[in-house]
Symmetry: C2
């Protein structure tokens, strides 16, 4: 049957797992809630549960699993497998590698999710064979990944590419990080949700009201529904978010002069057809023309599977 | 007598030339005005004149000149020596390499001045042996240089590191590039001069008035004099510029997670003792604490000679 690989995308709300075969095809998938608020042991149990289910699907073929790899949010030492810090999970100086290897006796690798998303698009997706690529992933927050000189760039302390905390307006809205006017405070789903709530509080009518509970973050699919219904609040709020998405993207083009910028994450996955043309329009305002004209602006081609494929790339790379 | 190297720093207002010996010491210097407004041929004559004077100083030893190298502003193909575009000089798709090699029959190399300044500090200055370094050079504009994974990063089209055109406020003051709120539109001498003029127009008294002609850019030494005299306009304007210098520097720390940020250029050369403590204070507002704590914030140690030493590094590198 040939070699098999288990790849995971561990997020703050859900864990995606997949088995991939030697030809890089996804053969099974499993999805579970993370239940991050229930503590470290419950999350471990759920990650192990995802792997167990994938192995059960494989049956006798589970002997052929070469390695397991995962992307997770946070600052991760990809050599030791230690998660130094994770913003949405109760992990600090936590070694998930030891936990998984003790449980399954199969090599386990882990990396930052945005970095793995970038790696996935670069090895298997739209950014293949590009020397310098900036990846911008728009979801609850904004994550970034950098391919520089044909290599994933992580900086010395595994934390380069905090693109979401680039300041676009020194006096702008406060960000969760304590700074003001961060990229993420303008163009992420957290920011979009804040703006929708502000309009609802002003008494404006919007179909989005029904999609928001007290503490929830708006779902990309709800945004898509509202945009298609030409809801004026949704159109205004998204227009503003895309304007700042262009400001941040333009800065990164001016700094890196990349071959390509890849845009991905949940918002692009649901709303790419709406976001991309507006983004390109506003980019003319924020990127130097000589640099913009040489930069491809592309949407992620792997979508929700980008991190899964990045994990596969890590396994293939470690296997040499 | 051993090998000699001629290194040049070709700026919009002046050309600095130096002869360096095998032990990397500067043995002679020559300085001439560029007279950029007099056209390409006059500039060529002046560059050749600087080299001629350096050779005359060397006398019989001029046979020992191994190579000539120069830093110049603009987008430069450092393989062919072609200057694709230069903002303050009348050069477009212009090959200075051919001109100099025809004249002297000695190998000539050229690179972007900010990149060479970064290279100089990395090979011979304060940034020696650091793997990832961001260089920010504050003069008339703001130039940038990047050392990533122990290598100068220039992007594919020789134009990475346009750090000066990173937007810090989407609705900020217009920049020469046509964007609004660029780093350079807040923290360069052009921006500082604009703010001083605005205060003079408001009728405020300042010692800086005597240092400004109708079209001139304020000199760093005049700023130093005014700061030492505790001139209130100078103090306010510099405080504002340093606040934005911190905003730009903080963004770059968040993006690159570098080992070190090096600050250089004329403003730092004259006012480093004043700028650096304020910069470090404001940086706490703009860089993520975990990243800031691991980043050295250093002033250029080569000062006005950084580009000269970067040119030397280019020659040594080409000679293998």
């Amino acid at each position: 049957m040939g070699k098999k690989y288990i790849c995971l995308d561990i997020g703050g709300t859900k864990i995606l797992g997949a088995v991939l075969d030697e030809k890089d095809n996804i053969v099974f998938r499993v999805k579970k809630k993370t239940k991050a608020n229930k503590g470290i042991e419950e999350i471990e149990k759920r990650i192990i549960g995802v792997i167990d289910e994938l192995m059960k699907e494989l049956g006798a073929d589970k002997k052929e699993i070469e390695a397991i790899a995962a992307g997770a949010p946070g600052v991760i030492n990809d050599e030791t497998g230690e998660i130094i810090y994770a913003p949405n999970l109760p992990w600090e100086n936590y070694n998930l590698k030891k936990v998984i290897e003790n449980e399954f006796d199969i090599p386990f690798y882990i990396g930052n999710d945005a970095n793995l998303g970038m790696l996935g698009e670069w090895k298997y997706g739209v950014a293949a064979n590009r020397e310098n690529v900036v990846g911008i992933f728009v979801g609850t927050g904004i994550g970034g990944g950098l391919i520089l000189n044909n290599k994933l760039f992580t900086g010395k302390r595994y934390d380069a590419g905090e693109l979401g905390h680039m300041v676009l307006n020194t006096e702008g809205p406060y960000c969760n990080c304590g700074q003001r006017g961060c990229f993420e405070a303008y163009a992420s789903k957290v920011a979009i949700t804040r703006e929708i709530r502000a309009q609802i509080q002003r008494g404006r009518k919007t179909v989005l009201k029904d999609f928001l509970d007290e503490d929830s973050i708006i779902k990309s699919k709800a945004l898509k529904y509202a945009i298609e219904a030409e809801d004026s609040v949704a159109l205004e709020v998204m227009d503003n978010a895309i304007y700042y998405l262009a400001a941040g993207t333009g800065n990164l083009i001016n700094i890196f002069n990349p071959d390509m910028v890849v845009l991905g994450g949940g918002v692009l996955e649901s709303l790419g057809d709406y976001v991309m043309p507006l983004l390109k329009k506003y980019l003319k305002r924020f990127a130097l023309p000589a640099l913009l004209s040489g930069t491809e602006i592309a949407q992620s081609s792997l979508g929700d599977d980008a991190i899964i494929y990045g994990a596969l790339a890590v396994i293939k790379d470690k296997k040499g």
